[in-house]
C-alpha cells in the first residue's frame, strides 16, 4: 500500500478543532500556525504556544527581515517555503545584555564578520546560536516556527488566533 504524508502549507491547511464534552475550548489555546502566518505581517512574531517564559512563534517570512540577536540559542523550523538564514559574528556583543529573554532587533546593518548562511526548505531546522546575529530572507511567503523565549517583540493575540467557540 502507498501512503501519502500530509503536510500543511500557507496555501493548503485544514484546521482541526476542539470538540468539548465538558470543557472550555479556550483552555487548549488551539490555533493553526499556517492560518496565523497567512494573516500576519512579514516577520511579525506571533506566539502560538506559551509555556511560562518560553514561546513558540509562527512567523511569516517574506522579503528580508531585520537583524536580530538573542542571549540564548533559538531554533528556526521552516514549515513552508524556503528561507535563507544569514548569521553574523557581531563586532559589538554588548548590544544584547546577558540574561536578556528573547531576541532584540538591531538597527540597520550591524558591524561584524559574516559567518555564512543556510538555505532551509520545508522541515529543515536551523540553529540560531546564542549571541550571534541573524536575519531571514524569503523570496516567496514562507512560514517559520521559532523556538525562543518571550521577548519584547513577541505578539500575543490569543483571542484572534484561537478557537473560542464550540
Amino acid at each position: 500500500m502507498e501512503y501519502r504524508t500530509q503536510f500543511g502549507s500557507l496555501e493548503s491547511y485544514h484546521r482541526g478543532r476542539v470538540e468539548p464534552i465538558d470543557d472550555d475550548p479556550k483552555r487548549y489555546a488551539f490555533s493553526n500556525l499556517f492560518e496565523v502566518a497567512a494573516h500576519s505581517k512579514p516577520y511579525e512574531k506571533v506566539a502560538v504556544g506559551k509555556n511560562l517564559q518560553y514561546v513558540i512563534e509562527a512567523i511569516r517570512a517574506e522579503g528580508t527581515s531585520e537583524w536580530r540577536v538573542a542571549d540564548h540559542d533559538e531554533t528556526a523550523l521552516v514549515m513552508d517555503g524556503e528561507v535563507t538564514v544569514e548569521l553574523l559574528d557581531l563586532a559589538d556583543t554588548g548590544v544584547i545584555a546577558p540574561g536578556t529573554d528573547g531576541s532584540i532587533g538591531l538597527d540597520g546593518d550591524p558591524a561584524g564578520t559574516p559567518m555564512g548562511h543556510a538555505v532551509a526548505g520545508r522541515g529543515h531546522m536551523v540553529l540560531l546560536p546564542a549571541r550571534r546575529a541573524y536575519r531571514f530572507r524569503a523570496d516567496d511567503p514562507s512560514v517559520i516556527l521559532l523556538q525562543t523565549i518571550h521577548g519584547k517583540d513577541t505578539v500575543e493575540k490569543w483571542s484572534t488566533i484561537c478557537q473560542t467557540m464550540v
Partner: protein, 324 residues
C-alpha cells in the same frame, strides 16, 4: 520503608513474578495480573508491556503515566507513586484504591527487570502493531536490544557537531514504510571558514521519517528549559498521560485525535482533532490519549523546569497556559 522481592519467582509459563511493597505482578500467556491488598487488576500483556516500556524509557516521564484507567505511576522526580485506582473515581469511592511511594532507584530496576523478562523474542513494545511480532505465549527468548534503546536527548540541536547525529540507513534507521514519500533533502549549509560548527541545520521531517519507534518523544532542540520533543505516532498512545504541567502539541503532519479526560476522575472533557499545522495545549489538570490512523509526526513541546508541579499545586501558576 518498602519491600522489594530480591529474587523473583518463576511461574509455569517461564516468566518471573515481581513484587514491590504490597504490589505483586505476574503474567501468563495473554495477561498481566496486578494484585494489591484491596484489589486486583488484569490487563492484556501486550498493552501492559507497551505502557511499561514508555514508563521505563522515560524514567517515569512528566507527571502521571496511566497504564490504563486503574494502574499507573506518578513521578515526583526522585520518588515515584505506584498506584491502583487512585485516579479512578469508582475505585476511590469503593475504597479499593491503593498507592505506595518508592524511591526511583528502587522501582526503576524492578520495572526494567520486568520489561526485560516479560518481553519475548520478536516483540517490540515501541513498534507499531503492524511492525512487531507477538507479545503472547510462554516465555521464549527476549528482546533486550529493543527494550533498552537509548533515548535521544540533544543538548543543543541534532546535527550540531558533538551533539546527536542524523539518522541514516547506515546507522540502522531506514525510512519508515508510511513515510516513504517524505523528502530526504538537507538544508544547504554555507559556513564561512572558522564557523563550520555554528552554521548548523538538518531536515527534521527526514529525521522523523526514519524513527523506528512510536509514541516516544526525543529531545532534538533545546532553548534553556524549553525542549522540542518530536515523535512519530501510529495506532494508539499506549498510556494515558496525566499532566503535571502544561504540555504543547504541534501537529507536523497528518492527523491525531486526542481523548481528553479529567486527570483525577477520568471524566470525559473533550476530543481534540489535530491536523498539520495545528497547535494545542494540554492543560495541567487533564490526561490524554492519542489515536493516529496513519503514522504521523507530532512535535511535543515541554517546559522541563522542575519547579512547575509545585507552583501549580500551590496555585502560583494556573493549569492553563494563557487566558483570554
Amino acid at each position: 520503608m518498602t519491600d522489594t522481592a530480591p529474587t523473583p519467582t518463576t511461574d509455569r509459563f517461564g516468566y518471573q513474578q515481581f513484587s514491590i511493597g504490597e504490589f505483586t505482578f505476574s503474567r501468563d500467556e495473554y495477561f498481566a495480573y496486578i494484585l494489591w491488598p484491596t484489589g486486583q487488576h488484569v490487563m492484556s500483556v501486550d498493552a501492559f508491556l507497551r505502557a511499561l516500556q514508555r514508563d521505563v524509557a522515560w524514567d517515569f516521564f512528566y507527571g502521571i503515566v496511566n497504564f490504563d484507567s486503574v494502574l499507573g505511576t506518578m513521578n515526583h522526580y526522585g520518588k515515584v507513586d505506584l498506584f491502583a485506582g487512585r485516579f479512578n473515581e469508582a475505585y476511590r469511592k469503593a475504597e479499593l484504591d491503593h498507592q505506595e511511594t518508592f524511591a526511583t532507584e528502587e522501582i526503576r530496576p524492578l520495572f526494567k527487570s520486568m520489561l526485560s523478562d516479560w518481553t519475548n523474542e520478536g516483540f517490540d513494545p515501541f513498534a507499531s502493531p503492524a511492525e512487531t511480532g507477538s507479545a503472547f505465549g510462554s516465555k521464549h527468548g527476549n528482546n533486550d536490544e529493543a527494550v533498552t534503546r537509548r533515548r535521544v536527548t540533544a543538548e543543543r540541536m541534532v546535527a550540531v557537531p558533538g551533539d546527536e547525529v542524523l539518522r541514516t540507513d547506515d546507522n540502522g534507521h531506514p525510512i519508515n514504510r508510511q513515510f516513504a514519500d517524505v523528502p530526504q533533502d538537507e538544508p544547504e549549509l554555507h559556513p564561512a571558514p572558522g564557523y563550520e560548527a555554528e552554521v548548523c541545520g538538518y531536515n527534521l521531517f527526514a529525521y522523523l521519517s526514519r524513527s523506528q519507534v512510536t509514541w516516544n518523544p526525543s529531545v532534538v532542540a533545546v532553548c534553556k528549559e524549553s525542549l522540542y520533543c518530536p515523535t512519530t505516532e501510529e495506532y494508539i498512545l499506549p498510556i494515558m498521560h496525566g499532566n503535571d504541567r502544561v504540555e504543547w502539541f504541534v501537529q507536523l503532519s497528518d492527523e491525531i485525535t486526542w481523548d481528553v479526560e479529567d486527570r483525577d476522575t477520568g471524566a470525559k472533557r473533550s476530543k481534540v482533532v489535530m491536523r498539520a499545522g495545528d497547535v494545542a495545549a494540554m492543560p495541567a489538570d487533564i490526561r490524554h490519549q492519542g489515536y493516529s490512523p496513519k503514522r504521523s509526526m507530532l512535535l511535543v513541546w515541554e517546559n522541563a523546569s522542575g519547579d512547575i508541579p509545585q507552583m501549580i499545586a500551590e496555585g502560583k501558576i494556573p493549569s492553563v497556559p494563557v487566558t483570554f
